[in-house]
Amino acid sequence: MSLYFLVMIISNISLKNFRNHTDTHVSFKDGINLITGPNGVGKTNLVDAIHYLCMSKSFVTASDSYVVKQGESSFEIHANIAGSLRQPFNLSCIWNRGEGKKFFVNDSPLDKLSDLIGTVPVVVLCPEDKKITNEGPAERRAFLDAMISQYSKNYLADLIDYRKILRQRNSLLSSGNTRNIFAMIEAWDHQLAGPTARIVAKRHRVLLDFATHLEDNYAQISNIRLKPTFEYKTFCEPTDEEEAIKSAFLKKLEENREKEMERQLTLVGPHRDELVFLLDGMEIRKFGSQGQHRLFALALKMSQLTWYYDIMDDLPIFLLDDVFGDLDPQKIQVLTNFLNNHDGQTFITSANISPFNGLIDFNSDKNQSLSVSAGPEISGSSN
């Protein structure tokens, strides 16, 4: 294909007290940026900083108090970013113990964290991705929600509203005030129904498109021809008819009224949706081997990227943390091939450069190889 793509590029980044980086400045190339070095010197932390700046959180740890360098009370990330649809801009994050985090676009603060999501779209592939198929439904919902939220601000707004209304409704159900529950529950049902219908319809529509991406990418990466599929399970037959979802939802809530009062909890809704992944009709969570979980996760993330190609204005940034060590030579070749054809910016961490010898050209203008040593000290090793 000779279509030209529009891309999001991080030109450089500066870190202050971000994990083990006291004061780090790095410039990046538009294509593939390989970051090598021994374990524990901070290569993952460097790509984690990029993720933090795009998604307002670390992909390594859930708590910001582990993100700040030990013994420090604040951290900062600053980056210069170029996108095709807008002037180059700088994006910063400043975190203080006590005040939390604040994001800035060209030095003006973003009102809400949710305003950040989607500004610089990102896809991350890391060893923890096995959880998506290996663990409970919450992991799969989190994958789906993060994927759709970067593309649709309305979806993210609906998720935020939904969670807030859900907390109100659960608080009413657990208040112990039966008279209030009977008087008010219907009002909260209707509040919940709007975001519910939009979330379910959106998940359904996105998954319809996503299915072909998953099939194509799994076929590319796996040489055994197993067909990956999934079933989206919610409280009703999935559809994109919002009114139909709304009335099915209200009916289900009515049916579960007694059970919900007994359990003091909302038992119906998109917060309990399940996405079942299958390989040749067999549920991967129950029957998948370690290798199949790893390949499936890889195919999911490649599909997230190729789905974004179809729908986003700018190609997202692709982060691959510590994934090449586990792959056999044939899969390394398929994945590097995928990366060489990917017109967006890519970041790879790896213990050393050897898996890429003869596969990725780090002497080209587009790519570079950086090495991190204790300190952390970062040096270019390509030119």
């Binding site: 309305n154 707004a157 209304i165 608080s171 209030n180």
Partner: protein, 201 residues
């Protein structure tokens, strides 16, 4: 700053409790008051005291007033058959400033929020129902003018349900795009709601 007067410290502490007031601002304010004329400071102190001692809630609409019923409820020029339901006194001021509305008000004094332990009995909904139920001055229309957030909407839903059996028209104010605002500056939630509430051109 080393504080050498307990009286000053107490004033700063009390001022710092006010909304939007940090400790630094409270210190600056206390030092400022200290330098003003005695009479001026007394006037301020009296005005603050009177807030609690002289201001009442109107027995009919629950707006704040110096005399109950309030001037709006007593006015013969206003339409007694229309009641606009608002969350608090601030909203009455905002609507009055438009000069557009010539009916009565009903101030709920809050909205229902289970997370804050505010149920239907903690806001003045019963009082609204008995106003509608009164035989002598029939109410024809109730306008719900609560905030378009989840709590405001849930409260509106509940009031609508309670008032359904009565012979009264229930309406709500339209939520949409503020005048003179360009589309690109409107947040998605407002814009979506404006789309959902669109009407024929």
């Amino acid at each position: 700053m080393q504080i050498t007067s307990e009286t000053l410290e107490r004033a700063i502490e009390e001022l710092a409790k006010l909304p939007g007031m940090g400790r630094k601002t409270a210190q600056r304010l206390a030092m400022h008051l200290l330098k003003r004329e005695k009479a001026e400071v007394h006037r301020l102190a009296d005005a603050i005291k009177d807030l609690k001692e002289k201001i009442l809630y109107c027995e009919s609409c629950f707006n704040v007033t110096d005399h109950s019923p309030c001037s709006i409820c007593r006015s013969p020029k206003r339409d007694q058959s229309v009641i606009c339901v608002v969350e608090d006194t601030r909203d009455v001021y905002v609507i009055e400033k438009t000069g557009e509305f010539r009916g009565m008000y009903h101030v709920l004094g809050g909205v229902i929020s289970p997370l804050d332990s505010i149920g239907p009995d903690d806001v003045r909904i019963k009082e609204l129902v008995s106003r509608v139920n009164k035989q002598d001055a029939p109410v024809q229309e109730i306008i719900l003018a609560l905030n378009p957030d989840a709590e405001g909407e849930a409260t509106s839903f509940y009031i609508n349900k309670l008032l359904k059996p009565f012979d009264v028209r229930i309406t709500r104010i339209a939520h949409g795009i503020p005048m003179g605002t360009e589309l690109e500056f409107i947040d998605e939630a407002t814009l979506s709601r404006a789309f959902n509430g669109r009407n024929t051109f």
